[in-house]
């Protein structure tokens, strides 16, 4: 390979698997790029990262990262990631998945992992619809928006994901769009260092489906739109952090707090009951 073909993050990717499956203009690649930059910035050893995804377009990210990775069944990324973290607390366990996977079929696991203050970083790519199956309505699809299964406009209301995460007990909550790569990377760095449940929502365009059905314009216009119509409101009440695809999108860091995390409490309990201090469930 000639030098000009080497990307600075190539060592963090399974380059032999590229090109990826994502459409031109998709936001998932930008979010993954930000994740890798955060890993690089913090100088985290990829042997110490476990990357877990569910099913869907975002779920395919697990196949491209050069670390231990698990592409789970639909909706089960969080409990499976918990299994890894509980057994090996020394690993950075990251869940990277879509809005449908994490909040429809997997919604129950999300709120309970947040309630437990489970030591995970959950990155949710929110593109407002089910991309992999052709653009169906989902739990984040805005009111009155068009999808293949809401052909007359969505009569349901979407979740406000940051509000949901905060209410369920997440200790770090942020939202950025893919037009905020610097801020997103910084947030991922914070999430990786956080003890407890960290949640980052990434607003991403689905050019091929949601944007087309709702006449949001081509990729370049959407990126400009995301940049211009986002307003940063750090630490406002997440309930008021609106997402309006044809209006204002509130982004920022909303929660950054502390409370006893699951892993610390769990290993304290083992130490107390077993009478020995262990660092993981496997002897390494």
């Amino acid at each position: 390979m000639s030098a000009k073909n080497i990307h600075p993050l190539d060592n963090l990717l399974r380059v032999e698997r590229l090109p990826h499956i994502w459409c031109p203009g998709c936001g998932i690649g930008i979010a993954l790029n930000c994740f890798l930059r955060a890993i690089d910035e913090l100088n985290i050893d990829m042997n110490k990262v476990a990357f877990v995804s569910g099913i869907g377009c975002s779920g395919r990210a697990a196949g491209y990262v050069n670390c231990d990775s698990f592409h789970t069944t639909h909706g089960r990324a969080i409990p499976l990631a918990m299994g890894i973290k509980v057994a090996r607390p020394d690993l950075h366990v990251v869940v990277f998945s879509g809005d449908g996977d994490l909040f429809a079929i997997g919604g129950n696991h999300f709120i309970h992992a947040a309630r437990r203050n489970m030591d995970l970083l959950v990155i949710c790519i929110n593109n407002f619809n089910y991309g992999m199956t052709g653009g169906q309505v989902g739990p984040t699809t805005p009111f009155k928006s068009y999808t293949t299964t809401s052909p007359y406009g969505n009569i349901e209301h979407p979740f406000n994901l940051v509000h949901l995460a905060a209410a369920a007990g997440a200790v770090y909550v942020a939202r950025w769009t893919v037009a905020h790569p610097i801020q997103l990377t910084k947030s991922i760095e914070k999430g990786l260092k956080k003890r407890g449940f960290a949640f980052i929502e990434v607003i991403a365009p689905c050019i091929t489906l949601f944007a087309r059905y709702n006449k949001l314009g081509p990729a370049s216009e959407i990126m400009t739109y995301l940049k211009r119509n986002s307003v940063i409101r750090n630490y406002i009440d997440p309930l008021k952090a609106e997402v309006n695809v044809k209006g204002k999108i509130v982004v920022g860091e909303f929660i950054d707090t502390e409370r006893p995390d699951f892993i610390s409490e769990l290993y304290k309990l083992i130490e107390e009951k077993a009478g020995v201090k262990i660092k993981s469930l496997v002897s390494t």
């Binding site: 697990a62 990775s69 069944t73 918990m82 299994g83 890894i84 309990l269 083992i270 077993a274």
Partner: protein, 389 residues
């Protein structure tokens, strides 16, 4: 007052089947249990919640059974022996991820303390209604290993065996028991880990640069690198090649993978299957059963032999799946008829019929939660003896 648990228990105890199952798991090396309360399996979770922290392990009560099985798959891939326990409704919820464990070759143990179904059915009554669900509950072609204990002692012994098989064949193993065995108290002899056979999964002995996570050895089982071992493996429920890379539209890759996943068990049926045969040397009538009904059947066979002189024997399947077709085909050549006893409306009997080679198969169903009585079985033996004997 129960005396404080030591790390391992040894010697004679009087305990419930569910409790013995938990102790067996601990001896087998299980250090993580994730589950959701459900009658009649809850006592396994309760015992594990107390015991696991004492042996340096983890108990987590999850939000549902979907999460419980997903969690133990993750834990197993991180190198820990892990299990869950449930009953019918929860077992139904676990089916998708049993498929994931088969596809990703994850050693886990699932205990199903069967109760009457369908649906909520009879939470406090015994049943063997999940035999076929254990076999074919998840979608796609696959093989499964399932064991059926018939005593509290076997709840201990076969839980250890379940872990050993899971580790050896890199597959989920199901312990199929029922409310009667789960809740019954009787004597059990508990052993220490160094007094029983313990199998651990084989690890790769090649460096990460050349390791292919799903490339099998000659025994069709690939050595298993775990998360955090430095091998940087990719694990997916999609059809994948030796490297673990999704190849879901390549018919050849799918055929090769699914055949191997089935064959690693099919070709080892003789090694896996355990059968408890009694009075079969000269038997003309064979009673076939597994789990709880075997307790009544043993008594009925003894009486039939001693008091009536009937040439009747008992085949108690300790391993329900894989089903020993060849064993039965061979047996069908020399016996006159089969009597199959199940606490359901006819499930494993179909498998016996498939290899009866024209010999009559009589079936005694039992629904409602009660066990067949020795007298009922005795009457049936008499009737069959009249017809065929």
């Amino acid at each position: 007052m129960e005396k404080k648990f030591s790390h391992y228990l040894k010697g004679n105890f009087f305990m419930q089947g569910d409790e013995a199952c938990a102790e067996g798991a601990i001896v087998a090396g299980c250090r993580l249990f994730a589950g959701y309360p459900i009658t009649p399996s809850t006592e396994i979770a309760e015992r594990m919640a107390r015991r696991l922290p004492e042996v340096g392990g983890v108990f987590i009560q999850m939000e549902d059974e979907l999460a419980s099985i997903a969690l133990i798959i993750g834990a197993s891939y991180a190198g820990v022996k892990a299990m869950t326990a449930t009953s019918g409704p929860g077992f139904s919820l676990m089916q998708e991820n049993i498929g994931l464990a088969i596809m990703t070759e994850t050693p886990i143990v699932i205990v199903n303390v069967m109760r009457g179904g369908p649906s909520t059915g009879q939470p406090t009554k015994a049943s063997q209604g999940d035999i076929m669900q254990a076999r074919w509950g998840c979608h796609g072609d696959h093989e499964i290993i399932a064991l059926a204990p018939y005593s509290v002692q076997e709840m201990f012994d076969l839980t250890i065996e379940a872990f050993n098989l899971a580790e050896q064949y890199r597959t989920p193993v199901i312990l199929l028991t029922d409310e009667i065995i789960g809740h019954m108290r009787e004597k059990v002899v508990l052993k220490l880990p160094n007094e029983v056979k313990i199998v651990n999964r084989k690890k790769p002995n090649v460096p990460p640069t050349i390791y292919e996570p799903f490339k099998p050895d000659e025994d069709l089982i690939p050595p298993m690198a775990c998360f955090g071992d430095g091998y940087r493996i990719h694990v997916t429920g999609l059809t994948h090649d030796y490297k673990g890379i999704p190849k879901s539209v390549d018919p050849k890759v799918h055929e090769l993978l699914v055949k191997r996943l089935c064959d690693k068990i099919r070709l080892n049926i003789d090694k896996i299957v355990k059968i408890d045969e009694r009075f079969m040397n000269d038997a003309e009538i064979a009673i076939v059963t597994y789990g709880t009904p075997a307790r009544s059947a043993i008594r009925a066979v003894r009486i039939a032999r001693k008091e009536y002189g009937f040439k009747v024997g008992l085949i108690r399947l300790i391993t329900v799946w894989p089903f020993p077709f060849n064993y039965f085909k061979k047996l069908s050549k020399r016996i006159k008829s089969y009597i199959v006893l199940e606490m359901n409306y006819g499930q494993l009997v179909g498998e016996v019929e498939r290899c009866a080679m024209g010999k009559p198969v009589f079936f005694a169903p039992k629904l409602g939660g009660d066990i067949h009585t020795p007298n009922e079985i005795l009457n049936l033996i008499e009737e069959v003896q009249k017809n065929v004997g």
